[in-house]
Amino acid sequence: MSQLDLARLQFAMTSIYHFLFVPVTIGLGFLTALLQTGWHRTGRPELLQLTRFFGTLLVIGIAVGVVTGLVQEFQFGMDWSAYSRTVGDVFGAPLAMEGLAAFFLESTFLGLWLFGWDRLPPRVHLATIWLVAVGGALSAAFIMAANSWMQHPVGYTVDPATGRPQLNDVWKLFTNPVFLRGYLHVILASLVTGALVMLAVSAWQLRKGSAPLAFHATARLALVVLVPVILAAMLVGSELGVTEGKYQPMKIAGAEAQWDTCQPCSFSLFQISGGKNDMTPTQIIAVPHLLSLLATNHWNGQVLGLNAVQAQYEQQYGPGNYIPNIFIQYWSMRVMAYLAVVVLLIGLWGLWLLWRKRLSGAHRFHRVAVWAVVLPFLMNTAGWLLTENGRQPWIVQGLQLTADGVSPSVSTATVATSLVVFLLLYAALAVVALVLLTRYARKELPPPPAADTPIPALTY
């Protein structure tokens, strides 16, 4: 493998890993804040216990999320120095803003929340968990603005002297249509993740029969959040697809393995072959008009085929292969979408049980809900594969090729070594984090603190 392949593999591996933890912390952050708000309003002791119970899971997630985020920031300079040198003027700004405006907020108030239980007035302490949640969501906004610029660059001019893009309208970075939909999609996906984690833990605890009243409350909270949020995530995701189809037609045509332009276009539930060497796949169950609807919002919309876009790009950018990996595009899109339907069905099943007041004793549902915890992670990963693989071969759509972004001064051996180091380290971290998370998720609720003593801080 070349330096380019290894650098891409390293970035993909570390990003996917980082994003296993990010949505948990954003989603669970808001849910924990809701629990503490509930306790603050009602004074019900089990809500305090639950806040601290889920807060501990949140903090384990944040610990891994933060340290793996560092690797992402450093990698732009280490592996992608030609990219950083070229686009730092535009791309660096949202990253610097993220640190100043969001990450300081999240990290500082996390310390205050953990250690401030016995030091801060209850109302102020409640505000700190909300600031942690808001800081995390704000952080994601800046990162998504930077990422969206790679999908659809806006707000810049090319400096004629250096040929490099220069920022000329920062507002455009935050009104980028890809950003607006992409960011909302990420926040909704994070809430889905947080809700499913909370649902799985609650279901496990209900099955075990410990503190049934308390964990019924969190199962209900998770379900009430989950159903509207997964629906919204699907709708926004489909809007995002339309937007990306406009600016990155390869991404959408690739997701359907659509080699020839079609109008109206059907959507295949499954298909066999359809790669570069066999452009006429065997579609299994084709839903008429559905692709037109998904990609253009019109019943009879036209979807440009891969061949047509390729011809257009060759004229525009010169000879080359502008088609992303179709297998990844086609299947990542389907894994994401199909699992979303599964999650929606689980959510509706849970709501129905809740309505019939049978949630506490529904053992079959509990078993399914526990295993459903893997679904959001598969969906999140598939979603990122879809959007990032669909951008290839560009590192910034239309501006710079990924192959032109790697560091010229770094050897293949160096990247290979670093990849091995991170693989080993991340594997060890995953084992430890997983063991700890499951151990803490299976713990019994700690006894409520006596009414007349101060609530102890969560110390190290």
Partner: protein, 338 residues
């Protein structure tokens, strides 16, 4: 390009803030097993920085992001050139960051010993490697006409750069030991003070050598300037204040020492960002590596709005957690752990 100079100052301020704040966190990380033989004492030491270290580490993240945004070429050349060292730095930061969270999550002595060792090693690697990297910026590494690093791993370990790393480790050790002294009571406090007084002579010696050496590497001769003189005097003062048991003032002194060491280093570096040992004409400077005027202006507005805010709420955090901590608070193994 007044804005580029302003962003050089911002970057210098961020690195200074990082070492002033995270400096004692790193020191505590290196020393937490030395201030007590028992678990309650070690937990007391770690919990002096418990609510603070995460917020302090953000200074590093923002410093790197500021370099990326304001001086993309600096960020690109430095981070790709120092690749192997940065891998090791990241490993140090990762194991250190998670060990705070993980070490208390089981009562098994082997588990705790493992994370103690990782916390200590990580806390040592971070100032050592950042010190070497900063030293390299001023000492110079092979950089060609197109601003690309052309050297190998060996070019990163000049005598000056290695000494810069050692100096930063010693600075963090003294700063951390003084911090534990200031923030604890009882046996932990006494041992931390004892340690601080033993570390002080080494730190003072390192500073007395490092400051003139930096001045001379920068091309200004061995005679230190005012800022460097302040560092050297503050180091001597810290040693004296520790001997006299003026703990609060001693911490003020170590803060001044570590802060002015970084500030004077960047003052010596200016207007260069990264010296080329190949040819002075290939130096990366504030003038040939900065982002455009518009990007710098936007970020200046963001910095001017948010910096005071960050300082305000971080300052408030220090006020909230101003009380001293004792080992007795952690006598019960499960105290405060859910």
């Amino acid at each position: 390009m007044a804005l580029a100079t302003f962003w050089f100052i911002v970057t210098a301020a961020l690195w200074t803030g990082f070492f002033v704040l995270e400096g004692f966190d790193l020191g505590v990380g290196m020393l937490h097993t030395f201030v007590s033989r028992e678990e309650p004492g070690r937990r007391a030491a770690i919990n002096t920085i418990g609510p603070l270290w995460d917020g302090n580490e953000v200074w590093l993240i923002v410093a790197a992001a500021a370099m990326f945004a304001a001086f993309p070429a600096w960020y690109a050349t430095m981070f790709s050139g120092f690749y192997p060292a940065l891998i090791l730095l990241l490993v140090g930061l990762i194991v250190r960051g998670v060990s705070f969270e993980f070490r208390g999550k089981s009562d098994s002595p082997r588990w705790i010993r493992t994370w103690d060792a990782l916390l200590t090693t990580g806390s040592l690697l971070v100032p050592l490697l950042i010190g070497i990297a900063l030293g390299d910026l001023l000492h110079g590494v092979p950089i060609d006409q197109s601003q690309e690093f052309t050297g190998g791993l060996g070019d990163l370990f000049s005598g000056y750069a290695v000494f810069a790393g050692i100096t930063l480790v010693l600075l963090c050790l003294l700063h951390g030991a003084t911090f534990i002294t200031l923030k604890t009571t009882g046996e932990v406090h006494d041992r931390a003070l004892w340690l601080a007084r033993r570390i002080a002579p080494f730190t003072i010696l390192a500073v007395l050598v490092f400051q003139p050496w930096t001045h001379s590497v920068a091309g200004g001769g061995v005679l230190p300037d005012v800022l460097e003189l302040v560092t050297m005097l503050a180091a001597l003062a810290a040693g004296w204040l520790l001997a006299e048991r003026h703990e609060g003032w001693a911490f003020v002194a170590t803060t001044v020492v570590i802060g002015t060491t970084i500030l004077s280093f960047f003052a010596d570096l200016y207007p260069r960002l990264m010296v080329s040992s190949t040819n002075p004409a290939f130096d990366l400077t504030v003038h040939n590596s900065a982002s455009g005027a518009y990007a710098l202006k936007v970020m200046s507005v963001v910095a001017i709005v948010f910096f005071p805010l960050v300082l305000a709420y971080q300052g408030w955090t220090y006020h909230v957690f101003r009380l001293r901590i004792s080992a007795e608070q952690f006598d019960v193994p499960e105290a405060g752990r859910d």
